[in-house]
Amino acid sequence: MEGYSLGVITLLAINCIAAMGVSLFTGFTGVFTLGHAGYMAIGAYTAAILTVEHGINFVPAIICGGILAMILAYLIGLPTLKLVGDYYTIASLGLGEAIRLVIENWQSLTRGARGYPGIAASTTLPVAAGFFIVLAVAMFFLVNSRYGRAFKACRDDYVAASLLGFNTARYRVMSLAISGFYCGVAGGLLGGYMSFIQPIMFDMAKSTELVSTVVFGGLGSMSGCLIGTTILTLVTELFRPISQYRMLIYGLVLVIIMVVRPEGIMGTNELTFSYIKGLFHRKKSTPAAEGGAH
């Protein structure tokens, strides 16, 4: 049982890394994505192939996977994010599936649909936690910088943002590239955690899960996406014994939150000291107001 709970925490750290990536792009920059599992797949396969076939160390291999996912995201972002509107979202629908199909059919490199076995189980809790802490600190710092304000300006009103001198297309592409890096790293870690990867792990359902986690936590809140990921990961893991009802409960939790708090658990707030203090003050005056969500 000890090992199992360590495993769950490791998985949680991995999911959080991916969720932060999607949160930056969807929550802070305002572009919906339905294909981020594709970047995870790129990261996972790159790390796996580099470690198994080229004997490269696990940590640099994962970073390579993240960088490759980032480059791909950048190249896809250039043509699709220049246009204002939902072009990237539509493109991402096909993109995630395209990446998965390429991996499935590139037998000589990826061993196809049956999956890629024999990855060393290198994603221990310290490794995953180390990656998570470094990436989380960097992400929180980033959204509290001039880049964070620029991303939010592009999200809130792209016309106003460009009239404040921001090259909005450039910031959107940049946000996508960073988010691709996070998902690539998460994918690489997932490979080392499972010791086995398969294209089907990175399908449409995974992409949807990523974005729904972020919406669940609150679009525009980094701490919200971490809380959301924690709740949803624990729900899926805790109800493993009654596995036939697992996804039912997962869906129920999502629906309940979206009905009770359509803006997500945190809205656009961050879990700061003053936010918590404000919460308690409000609770004192109207005890029921915040009850359902926390």
């Binding site: 910088s145 304000r149 001198g165």
Partner: protein
């Protein structure tokens, strides 16, 4: 004199609709000029053409002698033009200070590695951004509202935030699109004082679109009047007030 903005036979057509017809006028440095005309005359279209939100169909727009027809919006802004909007475009969910900081930060840049580590210039540049933001908020009389969410401010104050945000870009030319819209007489009076103040203190050239005739007549020595996309008169308030075409445009024909 030193010309800041010059329109040379500018045309803009949206399909078959000629929104701007052969507009030609000049704004000299340190002028406080007014652009007036009835609803739908094409005034805001002029602002959108100057700031690159729309492309001109024909003609040339020059800023300090440089043709800016082909520039993208963010490039035009970086040359030193800023504008406000007729219907406010604040970042409503952000605080007043964050709105102004988002513009002020353009002058205090630091690299990406500095941003993700909060090292190097991050601290000093963020502080400078904040200080400049606060200074501008003081200027427009909103320093005490800095941490309020912008969308919750009364309309008149939101306009002031927009002006502060535009000033944070440190423009040479400021385009104000109906800054007094929806304001009562007292508020217009305050706004007049504010516009005069920033015009002097920031050494600005201002082009102002306005519906409040008395306001334009009071503060703008140079007025351009347009109707149906074309210029019908240009001159001093006195000349404009007595120009037959202006009277016709505003009051209608006698028969």
């Amino acid at each position: 004199m030193d010309t800041v903005l010059e329109l040379k036979a500018v045309n803009k057509a949206f399909g078959g609709v000629q929104a701007v017809k052969d507009m030609t006028f000049k704004i000299e440095r340190n002028e406080l000029a007014g652009l007036i005309g009835p609803n739908g005359a094409g005034k805001t279209t002029i602002f959108n053409l100057v700031t690159g939100v729309y492309d001109v169909t024909s003609g040339a727009i020059e800023f300090k002698g440089r043709n800016i027809n082909k520039l993208k919006t963010f490039q035009v802004i970086s040359l030193g033009i800023a504008r406000t909007f007729q219907n406010l475009r604040l970042f409503g969910a952000s605080t007043v200070l964050d709105n102004v900081k988002t513009a002020a930060q353009q002058h205090y840049k630091y690299s990406f590695p500095e941003a993700v580590t909060h090292m190097g210039r991050w601290r000093s540049m963020e502080k400078a951004t904040r200080d400049e933001g606060m200074q501008l908020l003081e200027k427009v009389g909103l320093a005490d509202r800095a941490n309020q969410v912008a969308g919750t401010l009364p309309y008149g104050l939101q306009r002031r935030v927009e002006i502060a945000r535009a000033l944070a870009l440190r423009p040479e030319l400021l385009l104000l699109d109906e800054p007094a819209a929806g304001m009562n007489a007292d508020e217009v009076e305050d706004l007049n004082a504010l516009i005069r103040g920033i015009h002097k203190d920031f050494n600005l050239t201002i082009l102002l679109i306005e519906h409040h005739m008395d306001m334009v007549m009071q503060i703008c020595p140079h007025i351009v009047c347009m109707n149906f996309g074309a210029m019908i008169a240009e001159g001093s308030p006195d000349q404009i007030q007595h120009h037959p075409d202006v009277l016709k445009a505003y009051l209608g024909d006698e028969d």
